[in-house]
């Protein structure tokens, strides 16, 4: 397996300290949400409504809303208003602060299947101590005061009953 040859390469820098180069690149992007997602996000922002799209062929209700049913390949045309309550399918508690996590840890992330939907939504849970989190618990959406037309217009989900 070339073991001996590579062992030589592995022994160090031959007295040469390798130089390192830092990136100077910043590549900004912007993404068009498209009319389907925009309709959903405006509903969140302007009416505090969570809307899903239903496939009239297989009956599956998608959130995020899909313009076309990925299974049946027909346009989804039936918008449904959801109540904003749902069930925790799974969750985790992020304990380590990463740049990707905008809140202070511990942060509870959950997959929430909203009542009336067939797919789950990834979001935060607040208003409960991490130790009390359980799969199957009922939660409801809490809207942000200041809404900007993003998925974070739902500030978080909280338990339906006081725990």
């Amino acid at each position: 397996m070339g073991t001996k040859d590579n062992a030589v390469l592995d022994q160090g820098f031959d007295g040469i300290e390798p130089m390192v180069f830092e990136s100077q690149i910043s590549v900004p992007y912007s993404w068009w949400a498209g009319d389907t997602a925009t309709y959903f996000l405006k509903g969140l922002r302007d009416e505090k409504k969570i809307r899903a799209l239903k496939c009239t062929s297989c009956g599956k209700t998608y959130i995020p809303p899909r313009k076309t049913c990925p299974v049946c390949f027909v346009p989804n045309t039936e918008w449904k208003d959801l109540s904003g309550t749902g069930t925790v399918q799974s969750f985790t508690i992020a304990r380590r602060q990463l740049a990707a996590i905008s809140k202070k840890v511990p942060v509870i992330y959950a997959l929430i299947k909203l009542d009336g939907a067939d797919t789950a939504m990834l979001h935060y849970i607040e208003g409960i101590s991490p130790e009390k989190m359980k799969i199957g618990m009922k939660v409801q959406a809490e809207f942000a005061e200041d809404r900007k037309g993003t998925i974070q217009d739902i500030a978080f989900f909280k338990p339906v009953k006081e725990v």
């Binding site: 799974s90 992020a94 799969i135």
Partner: protein, 386 residues
């Protein structure tokens, strides 16, 4: 009809957390030279090259071109395949397709990563939808943690069951000179290591690694002239299951279930637990080692903790898994899937030295990506029938 295809040589670097002594092409070259030496052929014998690594990891996006000084691709057909975590397995599947097509006889396949050169979480985040998932994304480990949490709730498994898998893989790594982490750990040490995202501790997950792997595939026209012990590719399969993170069935890897059924059907495997002799599983965290072999059909749902706890997947057990030490001991991501393929090939060819499983007729190698997609290869000692 498609040509039958075999792996005739493999090569790997000695994987480390940092390789500041070499740039990317030089790292790639180490693996390529090792594979050529293993097959005892020259770079001029290679008809085409497939190379892959993780998008955004080194910030170099024309790797197929940029790497030719190391890959040997000068004035050869070179294509890049990159599919996230599954990249290393996808390049192998791509190589198999090229050789099976009859258009290329000998193809060099390369997977590599200098994980030390990137912001891993930042780069991985680019795999997720910017409007729906990224704003509430918590890093790759949190997705895996949600899978483990759902599995535990469904089947009553414990953190200790996960830890047992890490202990197995780290022990196996002691016998693999190419692995990065070669120090034994205990269940107590896993459970005492920092909690990253419940129920996943630091020692339940893979490290970050710099490394490269290379595989040489040849058609039935030349494979047996190159080596007397080729590793025949019996079948490959891959499956994708979601667009958005909330679409998956947390607690089960449905892409693994579907890909396995397809793979074993193509390969004529009826009882995988009996017929497969060794598995190199792309398992970046401990619970994947339990959940995914259930989805593979090796054992039934919920049976993993006991099966593994009894030592069946240890070296010397009924069905050894990850004799190399697996991903938990070493994870240069773009190379990781191809390392699984290398290791499975080495087992079939009888070249795995201290971590050789005796009498391997069939081996399985896998790739796992992003969250929840699966690539698989069925390797065999016997030449497949036409």
């Amino acid at each position: 009809m498609a040509k039958r295809v075999a792996i005739v040589g493999t090569g790997q670097t000695f994987h480390k957390s940092h390789r500041p002594d070499v740039n990317g092409q030089e790292l790639i070259n180490e693996a390529v030279q090792a594979a050529l030496k293993d097959a005892d052929i020259k770079i001029s014998d290679i008809d085409a090259i497939i190379i892959g690594n993780m998008d955004h990891f080194e910030g170099i996006n024309y790797v197929d071109c940029w790497s030719i000084d190391g890959s040997g691709g000068f004035m050869k057909p070179v294509i890049k395949i990159t599919t996230g975590g599954t990249t290393g397995c996808s390049v192998a599947i791509g190589g198999y397709h090229l050789v099976a097509s009859g258009l290329f006889d000998r193809v060099l396949i390369i997977g590599w990563e200098k994980n030390s050169e990137s912001d891993t979480t930042g780069a991985i985040t680019t795999a997720f939808d910017p409007i729906w998932d990224r704003l509430v994304f918590a890093g790759a480990i949190s997705g895996l943690a949600a899978e483990a949490q759902a599995y535990m709730a469904r089947y009553g498994a414990t953190e200790k069951d996960g830890a047992r898998v890490s202990v197995r893989d780290r022990k196996h790594a002691l016998n693999n000179p190419h692995a990065q982490l070669r120090k034994e750990i205990t269940i107590d040490e896993v459970l005492a290591s920092p909690m990253l995202a419940d129920p996943i501790h630091l020692l339940d997950v893979c490290p970050r690694t710099d490394g490269a792997a290379a595989v040489i595939m040849a058609s039935e026209d030349s494979a047996e002239k190159i080596t007397s012990s080729p590793d025949w590719i019996w079948a490959t399969s891959n499956r994708h299951s979601y667009s958005y993170l909330g679409d998956a069935d947390y607690g089960r890897l449905t892409s693994m279930r579907e890909a396995s059924q397809d793979l074993f059907k193509k390969g004529g495997i009826k009882e995988p637990r009996k017929e497969i002799d060794v598995i190199e599983l792309y398992q970046p965290y401990s619970f994947g080692g339990i959940i995914w072999i259930e989805d593979m059909g090796i054992i039934g749902p919920g049976e993993g903790p006991r099966y593994i706890g009894e030592g069946n997947t240890d070296m010397g057990g009924e069905l050894p898994i990850n004799p190399s030490g697996g991903v938990i001991s070493c994870n240069p991501i773009g190379a990781t899937g191809l390392i699984r393929c290398c290791e499975a090939a080495m087992q079939v060819m009888g070249k795995a030295d201290q971590h050789q499983v005796p009498d391997v007729n069939f081996a399985v190698s896998t790739g796992f990506g992003g969250c929840w997609w699966t690539d698989m290869i069925l390797h065999g000692k016997k030449k497949p029938g036409k």
